[in-house]
């Protein structure tokens, strides 16, 4: 058994003068305060990576800086799936009795700490160094390839994809911490600058500064209880050249494993927190996970299904697409928002019932997947 006893999230966007460690510390302090725990009570630390300040021992760099001497600590690297992979590991660590309170933390000054070109170049290295990167492929290009194929096989259009950007922006407009607060329409997405077709600027998440943290504990520390009901992973490939067919991608495998581990069905889910690095990522994952039928996710967006008041509220903070993407902390914001929703603390964004949430993270080019069910306990 494990509980998420505290969450912390900074605003995303520009944090001029803040280092990755500063942003990690800010989020970690917020998570500790939320859990009502002191530094001495944290006996495990898991942290992500920083492309701005790479280090071979980031967890102990952070532990020393923040002032914790943990019994267990290391960094984890699974790209965009890192936040949920760390949460899964923390869940197993506390469940196995290795640690009592594990701090999961990530933060990066990715926007102000390096140029946009440097960020794009750093991320493009998830591609194959001999067979892909020399072709000038970028992360948007890897996902652009997946997008044209997905659109070809399932009849999805660029306008369909644009709906996801519009939805995430609408959600971000209601969150003061989001990077973007200007409403957009499908026409704005369609008219935005081409990046790697069919993906245009507004189909892509931004580069952000920000940090996020949670505490995973063996015992509840407050009245509000959010329990990790169960989770699973799947890793089918690293490089898009080596990816399996669209019908055999890892999201379907990891959700099947997570459903088996928890005994939960898709119909049990009341809130969805799904990785959305690009509009195509969100569209595909929703369909791979079974939250929409093949080729029908966009129609569900148009029908209000994924809105705050819809049947399946989705990324009510605005997701990576509009809350922002600071690396590992980016997708951790999805979990923070899910926690706020489940504990009735989402203010003007509060949904009716977030008793059971599905979280899903994706790293690489749909390479690494983590599916996780959270359950509210009273």
């Amino acid at each position: 058994m494990s509980f998420i006893t505290g969450v912390g999230l900074t605003s995303f966007g520009k944090h001029e003068g803040s280092s990755s460690l500063d942003l990690m510390s800010k989020a970690a302090q917020a998570a500790l305060d939320d859990a009502g725990l002191k530094r001495a009570e944290i006996d495990g630390i898991l942290c992500g990576y920083s492309t701005v300040s790479p280090h071979i021992m980031l967890a102990t760099v952070f532990a020393e800086h923040f002032g914790i001497r943990p019994a267990y600590a290391h960094a984890v690297q699974v790209g965009g799936a890192t936040g949920l992979a760390m949460t899964m590991l923390a869940h197993h660590l506390v469940d196995a009795g290795v640690a009592r309170n594990v701090l999961v933390v990530a933060g990066e000054n990715r926007l102000t700490g390096q140029s946009r070109d440097a960020s794009i170049q750093a991320l493009a290295q998830v591609g194959h160094p001999d067979y892909e990167v020399p072709l000038g492929a970028t992360i948007p290009a890897y996902y652009g390839l997946v997008a044209t194929r997905y659109m070809h096989e399932y009849g999805v259009t660029e306008q369909d994809l644009a709906e996801f950007a519009v939805l995430m922006r609408a959600h971000a407009c209601t969150h003061p911490g989001a990077q973007f607060h200007d409403p957009i329409e499908v026409a704005d997405v369609m008219a935005s600058k081409p990046v790697a077709m069919p993906l245009k600027l507004l189909d892509c998440c931004p580069v952000s500064d920000g940090g996020a943290a949670f505490v995973i504990s063996r015992e509840r520390t407050g009245e509000a209880g959010v329990r990790i009901r169960g989770c699973a992973q799947a890793h089918t490939h690293q490089h898009v050249t080596a990816a399996p067919a669209l019908s055999e991608l890892g999201a379907e495998i990891s959700i099947a494993r997570a459903r088996e581990a928890t005994g939960l069905a898709i119909s049990d889910i009341r809130y969805a927190a799904i990785y959305d690095s690009f509009t195509i990522t969100l569209a595909m994952l929703l369909e791979d996970l079974g939250l929409a039928a093949r080729g029908e996710a966009a129609a569900r967006v148009r029908a209000g299904h994924f809105g705050r008041d819809g049947a399946m509220p989705l990324n009510t903070h605005g997701g990576l697409l509009s809350y922002g993407h600071c690396g590992v902390g980016g997708a951790m914001a999805h979990l923070v928002e899910a926690h706020l929703q489940m504990t009735g603390r989402a203010a003007n964004r509060q949904v009716r019932d977030a008793s059971i949430a599905l979280l899903h993270g994706d790293g690489g080019v749909l390479s690494s997947h983590v599916s996780m069910f959270l359950e509210r306990v009273r």
Partner: protein, 119 residues
Amino acid sequence: MSKRLADWTRGEQAITYQTCTACGHVQYFHRAFCATCGASDSREQRASGKGRVYATSLVCRAATPETRAHVPYNILLVDCAEGFRMMAHGENDLAIGDDVIAGFKPFAGKLVPFFTKRK
């Protein structure tokens, strides 16, 4: 195992692939073993260069000065006749399902495979 054949990743105008003599698995990324069964005696050959377009993405925003000089450039995934998939460049108007044939072009200081429509 015989000596590795030079291919475009090493500046040669060629695309190569490996076929496992034990299990028949075909792989594009060169390794000293078969990724399916682990056998170490894969047969390495030059590919015909014939294939069919699996996916495309026209890159309009590049991240380095060298690659920026080439935008827009079309990145492809091509299913090659010999049974492996590869990433390459190609004509900007290629579409999924087009039958294509490989040539080679300089790109950002290197040689890259460039596919054109097969007549």
